[in-house]
Structure formats: C-alpha cells, structure tokens
C-alpha cells in the first residue's frame, strides 16, 4: 500500500497524459424571470435575473492512480465541480477531457464508454439508494444493461461486487432500509464499482457516518484503490480525512480554486490566507484547552460575490489590489499553486 503511494509521489512531476483534465470549467445556475418578473422589469422594477457562479474558471488535471482531495466549505462549489467531473452535469463553459479527448465531442458507444468510466459515490446513503429496489437490482441493473454480465451470470456477478465492497452476498434480496448507514454506503460503493470504472468521485462519502464506521469505509476505499488501480476525486470538508487519503489537495473558495499542492506540502506550508485560516480552525484531537483560532465573518453569498479576490473581506492581509484584481493561480513551488497577490 505505502509502496504504491511512494511510487505515485515519485512520479508526481513527470508530465504524463492525465486521465481527466478540466480546462476553464465554469458552471452557472440561472434563475430565469417568470412572466410577472419580466413585466415588472419592463415597468422599471429593479429586478434582474439571478446568476450563481457555482464554479468559476477551474483548471485541474488528475493523473491515473492519483487521489485528489477537494476541500472547501458549504457553497464553495466543490460538489458541483464533482458532478461536472463525473459527467452528471454539463459545464456552462470549458472542456472536460477524458484521456485527452473532449467528452462533449464523443458520440454513441464512445460517449457511453466515457460515462461509465467515471462513477460517483454520494454523501447520503439513505437518499441515494432507491428504497423500492432490492440490493441485487441496485447493484446489478447497470452492468446488465451495459452488457458486462448476462442474465445467466447475473447472480455470480452481483455476489462478487457485494463481496468486494464488504457485504454478505446472502443479503442481496433485501431492501436498502434493512441495512445500517455504513452498510448502505457499501451498497453505494458496490453499485459504482459494478460498471468497472477507472475513476471515482466521492462526494462527502463518509461525512454521515460514525467515526468507527468511517474508518472502515476509508480503509475500504484505500484497499479498492490498490486492488483495482482506481483514481479518486475525494470531495470533503473534513481536512483530517483528506490529509489521510490524498496525494494532492485542492482548496476551493466561492467557486474558485485558491490553492493546490501535494498533501504534505499543503499541511506543512499552506500559502493562501484562506487555507491557513481553514487549517487553524480544524479541531485537532491533540489540542488541549486551547483558544480556538477564528476567521472573521462568513462566506459571502455566491449570488453577489465580492470583487477581486473573493476572500478579501475576511482576509487579515488584504490590501487595495485584492479588492479590484482577481489573483491568478500561480506556481510558487514545484507542484504548489496559490492564488494570492501576496506572492507578487
């Protein structure tokens, strides 16, 4: 396990075709005006269409076998970005390249193939499983449709998927409500893996679980990574989990990537003021009776984000330039990118 980690760290800076590449991804959600709204606008009422820039011009590439942790607070666009990467949601602008080819330009069998290669595991194991389907159908339906198994081989195929996710195959005729939270999350994992993906997007997949169950699921993720050579985009607000699992960490704030770096680097030498304050806010089990460090203020509404650097109203180091100019994401050390004017 640790040997494969070392390897992926060692090859970290060798240019190699990434498995997934995001180029200038932007996702906007628009609330169109209804008839009354349009009428009121014509009559001079100060109403306009509301646009949320959930994801704003994000570039990211993920190499084969890498675990990338995507961190941010609620409303920062991390889940939206995850959905775009998983192919569930089309981007408003920008391109998603799958092994160098634009997913949007693929057709027919190729497009289907690309979609199957990336699967998603969701946060809420209670809401992401159809309560009226038996476990064997939840897990086996998609592989059957896509021809990965046949009617005859269905039972063996499903058994194998369940066993791999740590579930007893004799339970496959049960319904989701008969399982505990941790077991349900395993069903979600078995479902995602049943279509033989190479790339998994885990959106807060352990956030709803108890600590002891969370450890079991995290260990399962690491085992599967080693066994099946999987690549992960691991979305979480829990820095402890991300630190433990990821090779590289990407920090988002209000739709933009503010910093990305290899795991050790970011936890040892965080550069962006937001990352620094985020790290100091995390409660640590090693800490005793300490003063909790605080960032002032809250995340502004994404409907009306502040100009310039989105973080400037909360930043202790903000100066005039931060209020007008958006800082570019620049490399400050090998593999370490940060978007802050303090870096010059």
């Amino acid at each position: 396990m640790s040997a494969t980690m070392q390897q992926s760290q060692g090859t970290a800076h060798v240019p190699e075709r990434p498995i997934i590449e995001l180029i200038g991804i932007t996702k906007r959600f628009e609330k169109k005006l209804d008839f009354i709204g349009k009428l009121a606008q014509k009559l001079g009422a100060p109403i306009r269409e509301e646009i949320v820039h959930a994801v704003d011009n994000v570039n990211l590439s993920i190499r084969k076998g890498e675990v990338v942790g995507l961190v941010g607070e609620s409303g920062c666009g991390k889940s939206t970005l995850g959905r775009v990467v998983a192919g569930i949601m089309p981007p408003s602008d920008g391109e998603v390249l799958w092994r160098g080819r634009n997913i949007a330009s693929l057709h027919g069998a190729e497009a289907k193939e690309a979609k199957l290669r990336a699967q998603m595991i969701f946060q809420d194991p209670y809401a992401s499983l159809n309560p009226r389907m038996k476990v064997q159908d939840i897990v086996g339906e998609a592989p059957l449709v896509h021809g990965m198994t046949t009617r005859g081989g269905f039972d063996t195929y499903v058994d194998e998927q369940l066993r791999r996710a740590g579930l007893d195959p004799t339970l496959k005729k049960r319904y989701p409500h008969q399982f505990s939270g941790g077991q349900r999350q395993r069903i979600g994992i078995a479902r995602a893996l049943a279509v033989q993906p190479e790339f998994l997007v885990c959106d807060e997949s352990v956030a709803a679980l108890d600590v002891s169950i969370q450890a079991q699921i995290l260990n399962l993720f690491m085992k599967l990574r080693a066994d099946l050579d999987l690549t992960y985009l691991f979305i979480s607000h829990d820095l402890g989990v991300v630190e433990h699992l990821s090779d590289r960490v990407v920090i988002m704030y209000l739709g933009r990537v503010v910093e990305q770096a290899p795991s050790e680097e970011i936890f040892a030498r965080a550069n962006h003021p937001y990352t620094v304050s985020l790290l100091s806010s995390v409660p640590r089990i090693e800490a005793r009776k300490r003063a909790f460090a605080t960032v002032k203020g809250e995340i502004p509404s994404p409907l009306n984000p502040p100009p310039g650097c989105h973080f400037h109203p909360r930043c202790p180091h903000a100066f005039d330039r931060c209020k007008v100019e958006v800082p570019a994401l620049k490399e400050i050390a090998p593999g370490h990118l940060s978007a802050c004017h303090l870096n010059g």
Partner: protein, 326 residues
Amino acid sequence: MSVATLEVRNLQTHFFTRAGVVKAVDGVSFTVGRGKVLGLVGESGSGKTVTGFSIIGLVDEPGRVVGGEILFHGQNLARLSEEEMRQLRGNRIAMIFQDPMMTLNPVLRIDTQMIETVLAHTKVSHEEARQRCRDTLGMVGIPSPEERLKSYPHQFSGGMRQRVAIAIALLHRPELIIADEPTTALDVTIQGQILAEVQKLAINTGTSLIWITHDLSVVAGLADDIAVMYAGRVVEDGPVSEVLDKPLHPYTHGLIGSVPSRNKRGEPLRQIPGMTPSLLKLPPGCAFRSRCDRATAECAAPIELMELTLGRHARCIHPHMEAVAA
C-alpha cells in the same frame, strides 16, 4: 468539585416500544462542577442525546426516566413536577440543539421570541427585556444586534442562527447549559468561531456545560472532563487529556485510533470491527465484547464502572493499563 452543579447518579431512561423495552440510558453517572465543561462523547445510538434530554426533562413517550437521580445543586430533578421543571428550564438550565430551527419559530421575529423568553421567567419591562436581548446577541458575536432583532430566522445563515439559539440559551444566565451537537452541521471556520465564543462564555460567566458530540477533536480543545458512552452506558470517564492520551477502555482506544489524523498518512486506519449492537434485548455483560479484541468469557458477566487510577473510571476488566503505567 465539592459543590457540583450537576450530579447524575445511575440514570436509567427506557423506551417502552411495541418491540420491547429499549434501555437507551442504562445506569449513567457523572458530575459536572461549576464552570466546568463535560464532553459527553459517543456514536449514534449510544444514548448521549437521551441523557441530555433526561436531565432537562424533555424525554417523550414512550420514553421514561425509570431510575436514578439527577441532582442539580442537590435537588433531584427526576422527582420534580412538570410545573417546577418548567420554572427551571430555560431559566437555570438551558439547552442548545443541533438544529437551531428546533429552538427558533420560523414565523416569529427574533425579538418576539427572545423577549418572550425573558418575560417568561423575570418581571421586567418590555424595554428592559429588549435591552437584555440586544446585549446577549452582541455577546455571542452577532453584528448590529439592534437591526438583527427585527429579522426572521430564515434571514440568518446557519452559523448566525446557531448563535441566536445560543443567545436565547444564555438570556437568563443559566447555571447549566446542555449543548447537543451544536456545531455538527456548521462549516469548520464557523464551528471555530462558535467554539471560541462558548469557551469565552464558560470562563466569563461560570456556566457549566455538557457538550454532547460524536467528534472527539471538538471536545479535546473544549472540555475539562470527558465521559465516553457506548450502548447506553458510560464506559470510561476522566480528565480530557488523560482519557485521550491514555485511554483505558478498549472502545475509547479504538475510537481514538479511528481518527484519521491519529494515523500515518496512507496507512490503513485502525478500525473497530462490526457495528453498534441493537439496544433491544442487549445481553448482560460488556456490550462491546463482540467487537473487542481483548474480550474473554468473563466479559459476559455484568461489569461495573470501576475506579482504575485516581479520578479515572472505566467499565472494563481488561483495560489498557499499560498506557497508565508507562
């Protein structure tokens, strides 16, 4: 510790369901001193919330406090009538819930709700009550409290709503606050802000706190003492740094081992096998024994909470004593 604000002795809260008796809290004892913070830690279903609800008298049917004493300044709360309890609740004992919308009425303005709370327990003029609400909102870090008083709950963000709920709990300067996972639903930076405020308040006002949570990292920085619950019982208690650095009970040991930051990066986490047992028809003896790597045949016999070293108790006959000896 001579004059404890709260002393819970052998508390038993059972739920009489159609499927049988669920012993959600089964013999819980702990003490909270004046101005002290007790972290009550456990996973879902361990009975930590029901313990909190039992103290403040909010256990609903089919649940009932069937045994034990809840001594608040020496007065047994379990024996009080509903009316006497109402006089205490919100006045000398307050509760903060995980979801602030459980405290707040969505169709009333904040000032209406807060002033109502003040007037329920003290005879002051409307204007004085308003003044007190304004001051309390300012105290929990809400900017421009005068204007915010006129807002409705939906106009606040999640973190601000939780601050309002905390302010309501603080209105009467209670001697004891029971906080049930109040920062679980919040972002880390907001959680940090709330924890800082709460810590400041506990120090400045001498209020005792019971902080119920599943997150060991939160209590590590906040609490003085910690009580770990498993399947309706306290399995270990003691001063925070002792329990977290040298856990005695195998469950506490495993729980701390499961925290990712306690493990080497990339290595498999030390996990506890299996899952929490159903509280229905829990066999006698140690409830953790089916998941425990130290369990022996003797563990099937009932085990009491024992004082193992000075000020530290654990409900285990095979504790990790080597940690304490070292």
